[in-house]
C-alpha cells in the first residue's frame, strides 16, 4: 500500500511539473518559509502549505490577525486559485504566468518551480477567505467589491469588522452598498452579547426599515437572553416586513409568469405562422429551435477560438445566422416534403414527426449526444434588484427579445408585400392564386419565415436550457398548447395565450408544486378547449371556414 501511495505521489508530481511548465513557461518564486524569522505572520503562512483544509482555514484567520500589509494580496490569491505552495514555499502566480514571492512580492526566477501546486480550497476555506476579504475590502474603490465585502461581513457577523464597517458607512455614497452595510452592521450588533440594549433596539429598527428577507431572518433569530422589549420590537418589525414581502412575492411570481410566458411565446411564435396561418402540423418545429441553439454554439466556438473579444456580441452574430440556417432548412422541408401533403394533416403530422427524429439523430451524430456549452455573455449574468423584486438579466433580455420578435413579425405581416400575400393565401388560397399570387412560393417563404423565427428563438433558449439534441422536444407540446389555446391563425392570440399560460403556471406553482401545477393547467386547458374549440381569439367569418 505504501509503495502504491509513493508511486502515485511521484506520478502526480511529475505530471504536475509538466503541466505547470507547459502552462507557465518562466516561473518565479518565493523565498523559503522558515522559522528563522518566525512571527504570527510566518506561522500563518506555514499553515497554508500543509494541504489540509482545517490548517488553511486557521492560516487565513491568523493572516488577518497578523495585520501584515501582504495579507490581503495573499488571501486574494487564495480566492483566485493563484496561490501556490511546495517545499515550504508560497508563491503567487501572476497573470502572465510569472509568480511572485508571496511574502515579499518580488519576482524570482525559479528553477524548482515545477514542484509548486495550488493551495486547495473547499467551501469552508472559501467562507473564511470571503469573511477575511470582507473586512479588508470594505473601503475598496470598486463598488462591486464593497458590496461583496458587506455581504461577507453579514454572513460572518464578525464583531472585529465593526470599526471598518463604521468607517466605510460614513463615506459610502452608493445607496445599494449602503443598505448592505447597514444590514451587516445591524446583524453584528444584534449578535453581539455585549452591545447595549439601546444599540440593539436601533438595530432592530434599521432592519425593520430595510424590510427584506435577510432582515426577517435576522429578526427571527434573536440571540438568547434578549430583553422582552427587544423581542416585542423584533416581532412587530417582522410582521411589517412579512406583510410587505407577501406583496413583493406576488409581484415576483407575476414576473416569473411573464418571463415563462415570453419563453413560451418565443417557442410558439414560429409555429403560429406554420401551424396557425398555414395549417401545417409541423412536429419538426422544435428541431428548428434546436438548430438555432446549435448555431449559437457554433458561433461561440468560432469566436472563442478566433476572436475572444467579440464574445459579448456572440448572440447578436448568432441571431441572423440562426434565422438563415433554420429558415433555409424550413424551406427545404417545405419544398421536399410538406408541399406534397397539403390538405392531408395526418400524413403531414407523421412525415414531420419522422423529420424531427431524423434531424435529432443527425445533430446527435454530428455533435455527439451530450450537452454543448453555450456561454452567457457578461451583460446577461446577474440580477437586478428592484425594490423587493429580483429580476435576472438573462430573463429581462429574453422578455424584451420575445416582444421585439413579436412586434417585428406583426409588422412584417401587416406592412410588407410578403405579409400581405401570406394573409391573402391564408384567407383564400384559390382567390389569391387567381389574382396572380404564386401561392406555392408564398407557402415556401412562409414556412421558411416560421422556421427562421424558431431558429432565433433557439438562440434565446440556448441561454436558459440545455443545448442538446433533445432541446426541441421539450418545447413542441408547449408550443402547440399555446397556439391552440390562443386561437389558430392569430398572432395576438399566441401572445395572450403564452402570457396567460405562463402567469397561470407560475401562480399555481408555489401552491400546487411544479408537477401538480402543470397537471392542473393542462386540465384547465382541456376544459377551455371543450367550451371554445377555436381558442381565445377565434377567427370569424369566411376565414374560419377555410
Amino acid at each position: 500500500m505504501a509503495a502504491l501511495i509513493l508511486n502515485f505521489w511521484a506520478h502526480r508530481m511529475i505530471s504536475f511539473r509538466n503541466a505547470l511548465r507547459a502552462l507557465l513557461g518562466p516561473l518565479v518564486v518565493v523565498g523559503a518559509l522558515s522559522s528563522a524569522h518566525a512571527g504570527p505572520y510566518d506561522d500563518a503562512l506555514i499553515k497554508l502549505t500543509t494541504d489540509n483544509y482545517a490548517d488553511t482555514d486557521a492560516g487565513v484567520a491568523a493572516l488577518v490577525e497578523s495585520g501584515n500589509p501582504r495579507a490581503e494580496a495573499i488571501i486574494e490569491a487564495l480566492r483566485a486559485g493563484t496561490l501556490l505552495y511546495g517545499d515550504g514555499k508560497l508563491a503567487i502566480r501572476g497573470p502572465a504566468g510569472v509568480a511572485v514571492d508571496a511574502t515579499t512580492a518580488t519576482p524570482l526566477v525559479a528553477s524548482d518551480a515545477g514542484s509548486l501546486k495550488p493551495v486547495r480550497v473547499n467551501n469552508r476555506v472559501r467562507r473564511a477567505v470571503e469573511a477575511a476579504l470582507g473586512s479588508m475590502t470594505l473601503l475598496s474603490p470598486d463598488q462591486r467589491r464593497r458590496l461583496d465585502a458587506a455581504a461577507a461581513v453579514l454572513r460572518s457577523r464578525d464583531a472585529a469588522a465593526l470599526p471598518s464597517l463604521d468607517k466605510a458607512l460614513a463615506q459610502e455614497k452608493v445607496e445599494r452598498v449602503k443598505i448592505a452595510m447597514l444590514e451587516a452592521r445591524a446583524a453584528i450588533i444584534l449578535n453581539q452579547p455585549d452591545s447595549s440594549p439601546g444599540d440593539r433596539l436601533a438595530a432592530v429598527a434599521t432592519l425593520g426599515n430595510l424590510g427584506n428577507q435577510n432582515a426577517l431572518a435576522l429578526l427571527a433569530n434573536l440571540p438568547a437572553g434578549a430583553s422582552p422589549e427587544l423581542t416585542a420590537a423584533a416581532r412587530q418589525a417582522s410582521e411589517t416586513i412579512a406583510a410587505n414581502l407577501a406583496l413583493w412575492n406576488a409581484a415576483q411570481n407575476v414576473w416569473y409568469g411573464i418571463s415563462l410566458g415570453s419563453v413560451l411565446l418565443l417557442a410558439a411564435i414560429g409555429l403560429a405562422i406554420t401551424f396557425g396561418t398555414m395549417g401545417v402540423i409541423n412536429m419538426a418545429h422544435g428541431e428548428m429551435v434546436m438548430i438555432g441553439a446549435y448555431t449559437t454554439f457554433m458561433v461561440q466556438e468560432v469566436i472563442r477560438n478566433h476572436a475572444p473579444g467579440l464574445f459579448g456580441a456572440s448572440l447578436f452574430i448568432a441571431l441572423p445566422l440562426a434565422f438563415l440556417i433554420a429558415g433555409a432548412i424550413g424551406i427545404a422541408i417545405e419544398r421536399l416534403v410538406i408541399r406534397f401533403l397539403y390538405g392531408r394533416p395526418l400524413e403531414t403530422l407523421l412525415a414531420t414527426w419522422g423529420l424531427s427524429l431524423i434531424l435529432q439523430q443527425g445533430v446527435r451524430t454530428m455533435f455527439g449526444p451530450s450537452n454543448r456549452e453555450v456561454g452567457t455573455p457578461e451583460w446577461m449574468s446577474g440580477a437586478l434588484q428592484l425594490g423587493g423584486l429580483s429580476l435576472t438579466y438573462n430573463r429581462i433580455a429574453i422578455v424584451i427579445f420575445a416582444f421585439a420578435v413579436f412586434a417585428t413579425l406583426l409588422l412584417v405581416l401587416r406592412y410588407t408585400s410578403l405579409g400581405l400575400y401570406m394573409r391573402a393565401v391564408t384567407q383564400n388560397r384559390r382567390m389569391a392564386g387567381s389574382v396572380g399570387i404564386r401561392t406555392s412560393r408564398i407557402d415556401a417563404l412562409a414556412f421558411g419565415l416560421g422556421s427562421g423565427v424558431a431558429g432565433i428563438a433557439g438562440v434565446a433558449l440556448s441561454q436558459i436550457d440545455n443545448v442538446s439534441p433533445n432541446l426541441g422536444q421539450s418545447y413542441i407540446i408547449d408550443s402547440f398548447m399555446v397556439v391552440v389555446f390562443g386561437g389558430v391563425g392569430n398572432l395576438w392570440g399566441t401572445l395572450v395565450g403564452a402570457m396567460t399560460l405562463g402567469v397561470a403556471n407560475k401562480l399555481l406553482e408555489p401552491f400546487a408544486g411544479a408537477v401538480l401545477g402543470k397537471i392542473l393547467l393542462l386540465v384547465a386547458i382541456i376544459l377551455f378547449i371543450q367550451r371554445r374549440p377555436r381558442g381565445l381569439f377565434a377567427l370569424k367569418g369566411r376565414a374560419a371556414e377555410a
Binding site: L4, N7, F8, H11, S15, Y53, G81, R120, N122, N123, R124, R126, R127, E130, R155, Q213, N214, A217, A220, N221, N253, Y256, S259, L260, L357, Q361, R364, G368, P369, S370, N371, R372, E373, G375, T376, S381, G382, A383, S390, T392, Y393, N394, R395, Q463, I464, D465, N466, V467, S468, P469, N470, Q473, S474, K506, E509, P510, G513, A514, V515, K518
Partner: protein, 429 residues
Amino acid sequence: MSIANWTKKSTRILAATLAVSASLVGAAQAQETIKVGVLHSLSGTMAISETTLKDAMLMLIEEQNKKGGVLGKKLEAVVVDPASNWPLFAEKARELISKDKVVAVFGCWTSVSRKSVLPVFKELNSVLFYPVQYEGEESERNVFYTGAAPNQQAIPAVEYLAKEEKVERWVLAGTDYVYPRTTNKILEAFLKSKGVKSEDIMISYTPFGHSDWQTIVADIKKFGSAGKKTAVVSTINGDANVPFYKELANQGIKATDIPVVAFSVGEEELAGIDTKPLVGHLAAWNYFESIDTPDNKAFIQKWKAFTKNDKRVTNDPMEAHVIGFNMWVKAVEKAGSTDPDKVIDAIVGVQVPNLTGGISEMLPNHHITKPVLIGEIKDNGQFDVVWKTEGLVPGEAWSKQLEGSKDLVADWKTLKCGNYNTVTKKCGA
C-alpha cells in the same frame, strides 16, 4: 451505358459482395466467439448519458480481446439501441439473449428500464450488469449492481454536509420518478432519526426535463435565509440540471451560502455548463475523473485514444462498467464457463481493482464494495475530492432507514434469497 447493362453490372457487384460477406461470416463462425450484449440507449432522451457507456463497453471488450479474449475465445459485442423506450428495453433484452445468444448483458441506466428488463432476465436466466447508482430496495439473482446503493452515496453525502458544512436545514429536490422519491424517503427518515425537525426539511419534485426553475430556486433561497445553514440535496435527473444550475448562478446562490450536493451530476453533465459560477457545489460519487491514481491515468488515456477525442471525460458509471466487466471476466475464468448459472455462483467474492486505488469485491447481495467520495466542482468542469471514506463501503440492497425494508437481507450465496426477512425467518418478505 444502357440501363439493362447497368442493372446487370450492379447485380454482379451485389452478388460478389454477398459472397464475400458470406465467407466472412463463415470465417467468423469457424473461429467461435463469446457474445456479450450492450443494452444502452443510443437515441432518445437517455442517449446523452448512455452512449458513453456503450463506447466504454466497446473499449473494454476490444482491450480484453487484445489480451487474448476469455477462455481462449474472442469476445464479440452485440450492440442494440433500446431508444430510451422502456418497453423496448425488455424487447431488445429478449432479442439479445434468445436470438443473439449473448452470455451476459451490460446495460440500462434508469431504474424503470432495469425494472422493465428484470422479468426477461429471470425468465431466460441470463446475467445483467447494471452500472448506475440507484435507489436500492432490490436484489435479484440475475442482476449485478455495480453502481452505488443509497448507503454508498446519499447517506454519506448528507453526513458530510451535516458534519463539515454544519448544515441544519435541508432541501431535498428531485425529478418526479422512482429514484429520487425513494432516495428522498430514505434521506428524510435518516435526517429525522438524526433529530432534524420536519419544518427544517423541504421536499420539492419537478417533472422530467423541467426548464423553468425561477420559482423553485427563489423558494430555496427563501428557505435558506431563515438563519440556519441550509443545503440542497439534489436528485434532479439529467437534462433538468443545466437550467437548474444556470438559475442558481443567476440568482446569485453561491456554494458558500447554500451548497448543492448532487447525486446525478458528473463530469459528463457538467460538460454542457460554464462551471465558474458553480465552484464549490458538490457531488457524491464513487469515482471522479480527477482521482490521481496510475490506474485511472491509464484508463483516461486509453479512453481518449479509443474515442479519438481529447475532450472526452470519464465518469462514475463508466468505472462501474470497468469493475463489472472485469469481475465478469474473472468469474468466467474461475468457473471455466460462460454459463450464467456457473457465473452467478462464481462471481460472489471475486475481487478486482477499481480505478480509485482500492479493491472492489462482489458481495453475496450482488452489490459491490466501493469508496464514497465527495467532490467540489472546479472551474474547469472537474471535481476536487474534498472527502472520502476511510475504506470501501459495502453496498446494502435493503435500506436500514425504511420501515418495510430494514429487516430484509439479500444473500445469494448461502440463503439463496434476495429478500430474506430476518424477523420472520422467511424468504420473500
